[in-house]
Structures are given as C-alpha cells and as structure tokens.
C-alpha cells in the first residue's frame, strides 16, 4: 500500500511555506535511546540538542504490526507520545481493532493537518484514549487530496461532527459519512480555510456580498 516510501517521515521534510526553509533536524536517523531525558526541562529551552521523535517499538506497536503488517507504515514517539502512521485504506479496520481489542474506547479528537507539498497532501489525526489503560495513541493517516477515507462515525458517533468539521475546513470527504456537509461555515461557502493555500485574509467575497449585503467581512 505504501505507495511512497515515507510520507510519514514527518513534517519537517516538507516545510510548507517559504519561511521554514531550513528543514531543521533530519528526523529519525539517530535513534539514541537516551532521548527521553532530553524531554526534561531547563537546559532545553532555546536549543534542542536531541531529537524529539524516535521510532517506537513496544508491545502495542508489535501487536499492531502483527495484525496489520504493512498497513502500519511507521510507529513513532514524539515527546513520549506514541503515534502510528497507518495506511488510509485500512483505517476503519485499524480503528475497529483499536476500539475493540486494544480498548481505545474514546475517540478523543479527529482532525487533519495540511502539507501542501507532500504527495499525500493531508494527515488525518485520530487521537484515541483508552479508559482501562489510561493511555493515548495517535493514528496518523496520510491521505491524498482526492482520496476519500472511510468514515469513523460508525465506530464512534462522535466522529460525525468532527468529520464534518474536517470536510468543512480541509475539504476532505469521508466515504460513508451520514450527511457530510459544512458545519462551521455557511453551506454555500467556497474554499476550505484551514488549507495552507487559503490566505488568512481570504474570504468568499461573493458569498459575503450576496448573503450579508456588505462588500467585505474584514
């Protein structure tokens, strides 16, 4: 499935806007296990001698890999918070497995991040919480702009509005969602504001003029 090697490898490899020209620290290459202490305070302030992302390989990840093999594209830990990069095609399977077998029963949040220069433009981020184990797990699902990932709202009804919000602000459509329509912005609005190519001053001038009767909402 992994149609491109490491889309996951992280943000830094494709810093989006002009500003972040220097790709900072090459992410995961030096896998110093001594990293955790670096997460401790003080000295760390302005400079970060140690990388904060590391590959993760614990029981949980192993179980996931066992079940889904190549669909688990990567498993990382960022500032001691684990996340799995998974293939969007297996999203609902993995989600169901997480909920039913691994007892991540709460979909705490579901959102997206836009990486316009990457081949798979968006990352869907599902933050799962397990009441029995009191742990969190992030699922990161790279999806392409024209891709339609499966909905999670059958597993967690809470994903209903969250997916609508993602659709509204990013324009990612979810297959099988009951009633996918804009939620925060008006129905007829053009554009998806949280995409990086949507400028902060941009607005749907035509809509504003027509519906509010003013020239500009600024």
């Amino acid at each position: 499935m992994a149609d491109e090697p490491k889309p996951s490898q992280e943000p830094e490899s494709t810093p989006p806007e002009p500003k972040g020209a220097s790709p900072a620290s090459p992410p995961k290459n030096d896998a110093t296990p001594a990293a955790p202490p670096a997460a401790k305070p003080v000295a760390a302030a302005p400079k970060f001698p140690l990388p904060v992302q590391m590959p993760l390989d614990n029981d949980l990840v192993r179980r996931y890999r066992e079940h889904f093999g190549a669909a688990i594209l990567d498993a990382l830990e960022d500032r001691k918070q684990p996340y799995l990069v998974i293939d969007s095609a297996r999203l609902s399977d993995i989600a169901r497995y997480s909920r039913d077998e691994e007892k991540f029963d709460l979909l705490e949040d579901f959102t997206a991040v836009d990486w316009p220069r990457r081949e798979k433009r968006f990352d869907l981020i599902a933050i799962l919480y397990s009441f029995p184990h009191n742990t969190r797990l992030r699922l990161k699902i790279p999806v392409a702009a024209n891709e339609q990932p499966g909905t999670l709202s059958e597993l967690w009804p809470t994903a209903n509005w969250l997916e609508r919000e993602i659709f509204d602000l990013f324009g990612i459509e979810f297959a099988g969602h009951p009633g996918l329509k804009r939620i925060l912005l008006p129905d007829g609005w053009q554009g998806h504001p949280l995409r990086k190519d949507y400028d902060i001053l941009q607005q749907d001038t035509a809509w504003v003029r027509e519906n509010l009767g003013i020239d500009s909402g600024q």
Partner: protein, 448 residues
C-alpha cells in the same frame, strides 16, 4: 328629541356614581397594575440581593410612568402574515375582560362599581375567564410557531385549572350559601371565622388554580421565556403588548380579590367580632403614618435634591391618607365613613398579601413542564377539589342535621380530604415514575 334627552338625563342621574367608578377603574387600574409591576421588581430585587429600578424617581418610584410612556411611543409592529383584525383586537379582549370583572368587585363595603349583582362572584369569575380568548386569538393571529404553541398551552392550562378553581370555590360558596359578595363577607362575619380556616383545602386549590389562571410562575408556561420566547406575546410590541401585560396584572388583582372575598374575610379586619380588639381599626392610620415616617427618614439619604423633595411628597401623601383614616375617630360627623375606609384598607391589605405570595412563589420556584402541569391539574387538583366539595357538604350536613360541632366536623372532613390527597399524590408519583421509566428506554438513533 325631548324624551330622549330626558331619558339621557334620567340615566345619568341614576347611574352617575357607577359611571364615575367605572371611569375611575379604567383610568386607575393601569396605574395600579404599573405599580404592582414596580413592587414586583423591587421585591424580586430584594430577594435576589440587588436593588432593582433606582433611576427614575427615588427608588424607581416613577418607573411605571416612564415604562408606560416608553410603551406608548414605541413602534407598533404587525407581522406581515398576521391576521390584522384579530391581531389588533385580541389584546383588547384580554384587557376588557379583566376590567369588566373588576367592575363587579367590592373593594370594601363602600367602594364598588356595579349595583350588587346577585351572582356577583360567579360574574367575576366568568367574565375574567374570557381573557384567555384574547390570548388564544392573539397567539393564532400572530402567525408564529412560538405564539401558537403558547396560545395552545395557555388554553389547555386555563381550561384545566379553571375547572379546579371553579370547583374549589364551591366549598366556600357552600359555607356562605350565597353568591352575592356582601353576603359572603357577612357570612364570614356571622360565623366568626374566615372560610380559609373552615375550608383550607379549598383555599389551597383555589390559590394554585389562580396562579395557573393568571399564567404566573411556576405555571407561566404560555409565556415561558426560556422555551417559547414570550409565548403568545412574542409578536406583540408597544402598546398592544402593554395591554396584555396590564390585563395579566389586572387579572392578578381580580383573582386576589376573589380569594380575599371568599376565603380571607373580605374587608373584615382580623377578629371582627371580638370587641376589645377594636383598636385594630386604628392600624391603617398607624401603618400609613409609619410609612410616612420611614419616607422622611429615607429622604435625607437621597443623593439628588429633587429626589429628597419627591420623598417628602410621598411622606406627606402618606400622612394625608393617615389623616383621612384618623379623621372619623376625631370628628364625630364623619364617623359614618369609618367602616368604609377601614374595610377598604383591610381588603387592599389582604389582596396585596395574596399577590405578594404570588410573587414570592415566582422568585422561588422553577417552572413546571407542560405534562407535569396537566398531571397536577387533572390527577390531583380536580379530584381533590371534587372530594373537597363533598366533604364540606358532608360537614355542613352533619352540623345541621346532627347538631355536631362545626369545628369538629370541619377538622374531620378536612383530614379526610387530606388523606385522600396524600393517596392521590402517591398515585401520581407512581404513575410519573412508571411513565418516566418507560420514556427512559433508550433509543439508538444517532444523527447529526
């Protein structure tokens, strides 16, 4: 021509007192209602740890007038799809009903409008119940969902609670044996006790029903602002709105007067038959004098000179009234006015106390839900009212046929009624518990 003029003259000659009284009622009741609103706001403020209106006049004493002026000059909005004629006419019905009902009331033995109608109390109740026509028609004519739901609620509520209230009145009427208002009061004088003590259950039911009939909290569902915005009044504004508002407060005065007449001894002072308590007749003057003194005390503390002056004026008015009350004691030829004056004082005092209880409840209690309201009306109050009528009748029968002590029979029958009411409440609780557990069966339909 001549006979007509003569007839007119004759008409005026015979009816001028009543005409003047009628004009006074129409002119003064809105003012009184305005001040009842002010008192309500002040009381509410006091109970809620704040000051209430303070700006217009000292302690907000001119607020009602300012409000009235504001309402009069407000734009008069009519929704586009409203039924113009009925929308215009509905508030008038409410107001007219309340005022007409007031026409048959006795505010003390001497102050009244209509010649004594021998169905007095029935007239008051019947006519005041016409007010809801204004509510339902106004709600319908507004052509708005909130309005119509408010109107439907209001009608259902009125019909249910009028039944309970009407039956509750019967218990007092049985004791009085007449419908004429002065005779009812006289009956309470003769039996040495107010009917509230003989028929407490009846009074309680009437009180609850009268709160519901006047759409006051906790029964203010027709205009529940948190659900229906303003119920049937949603689309009304300005003067028409104020007509509804005044009608509501006038109605409050009407039901309070009815309750006072029937259950609280009308214009009788407390213990009217006990001679050595005659000094109680001095109370009105003392009371007013005290208010006057208090006003003077407060006058010094007013921040603005004009308010000090106003406060003095109020104090002087109080003293003047007190003088009017005290005059018959000093000037023998005015002695005839004494019963009338004192009667008016006590009557208004009791009416105020009754309205005060209304307000107190309003600030204390949450609002009923519509189904709960209906349950309360139909499952508890109406059966209880019917049983109460039976037991009062039984008590009277026992007294007259078997010569039993009146108090004894009353206590026994009241206890009997209360026992049944307890049973009813128990049943009601069970029923609602069952109903709510049935309603709580989960349904699993998620939707956006």
């Amino acid at each position: 021509m001549n006979p007509t003029a003569q007839a007119l003259l004759h008409f005026l000659q015979t009816w001028w007192v009543e005409l003047v009284c009628a004009v006074v009622i129409v002119a003064i009741v809105p003012l009184i209602a305005g001040y009842v609103v002010l008192v309500e706001r002040k009381l509410m403020a006091d109970m809620q740890a704040r000051l209430g209106p303070m700006r217009v006049g000292p302690h907000g004493l001119l607020q009602p007038i300012a409000d009235a002026v504001k309402l009069l000059i407000k734009e008069d909005l009519v929704p586009r799809d409203a039924d113009g004629l009925i929308f215009w006419f509905a508030p008038v019905i409410t107001m007219v009903a309340a005022l007409t009902a007031m026409g048959a009331l006795y505010f003390g033995p001497a102050f009244r409008v209509a010649q004594d109608i021998n169905i007095g109390i029935l007239f008051v109740i019947g006519v005041s119940s016409l007010g809801f026509l204004g509510i339902i028609l106004g709600g319908w004519a507004s052509n708005s969902h909130y309005s119509i739901i408010g109107a439907i609620r209001s009608t259902a509520q009125l019909v249910s609670y009028e039944a309970a209230g009407g039956i509750a009145i019967v218990s007092a009427l049985l004791l009085a044996g007449t419908l004429r208002i002065p005779d009812i009061v006289a009956a309470q004088f003769d039996s040495h006790v107010w009917f509230i003590f003989l028929a407490p259950v009846g009074f309680f039911i009437f009180m609850v029903a009268s709160i519901a009939e006047t759409n006051r909290a906790p029964f203010d569902l027709p205009e529940a602002e948190s659900e229906l915005v303003a119920g049937y009044m949603t689309e009304y504004s300005g003067f028409r709105w104020s007509l509804y508002f005044l009608g509501e407060y006038a109605n409050m005065i009407v039901v309070a007067s009815v309750a006072t007449t029937l259950f609280l001894g009308g214009w009788l002072r407390p213990f009217p038959n006990i001679h050595w308590l005659r000094w109680l007749d001095l109370l009105p003057a003392l009371f007013l004098g005290f208010v006057g003194v208090y006003c003077i005390y407060r006058a010094g503390k007013q921040p603005v000179k004009i308010q000090t002056g106003f406060m003095w004026a109020v104090a002087l008015a109080c003293f003047g009234l007190a003088a009017v009350f005290i005059a018959p004691w000093i000037i023998a030829p005015l002695r005839f006015a004494l019963p009338g004056l004192n009667g008016a004082f006590w009557f208004l005092f009791k009416v105020s106390a009754y309205i005060y209880v209304f307000m107190w409840l309003r600030f204390t209690l949450p609002r009923y839900r519509f189904d709960q309201l209906m349950h309360l009306g139909w499952y508890i109050l109406i059966p209880l009212a019917i049983i109460n009528v039976f037991s009062v009748g039984l008590a009277l029968l026992l007294e007259s046929e078997f010569g039993l002590n009146r108090w004894f029979t009353m206590i026994v029958t009241t206890a009997f009624t209360l026992a049944i009411s307890l049973f009813l409440v128990r049943m009601h609780d069970k029923r609602t518990a069952a109903a709510s557990s049935a309603a709580a069966v989960p349904s699993d339909s998620y939707a956006g």
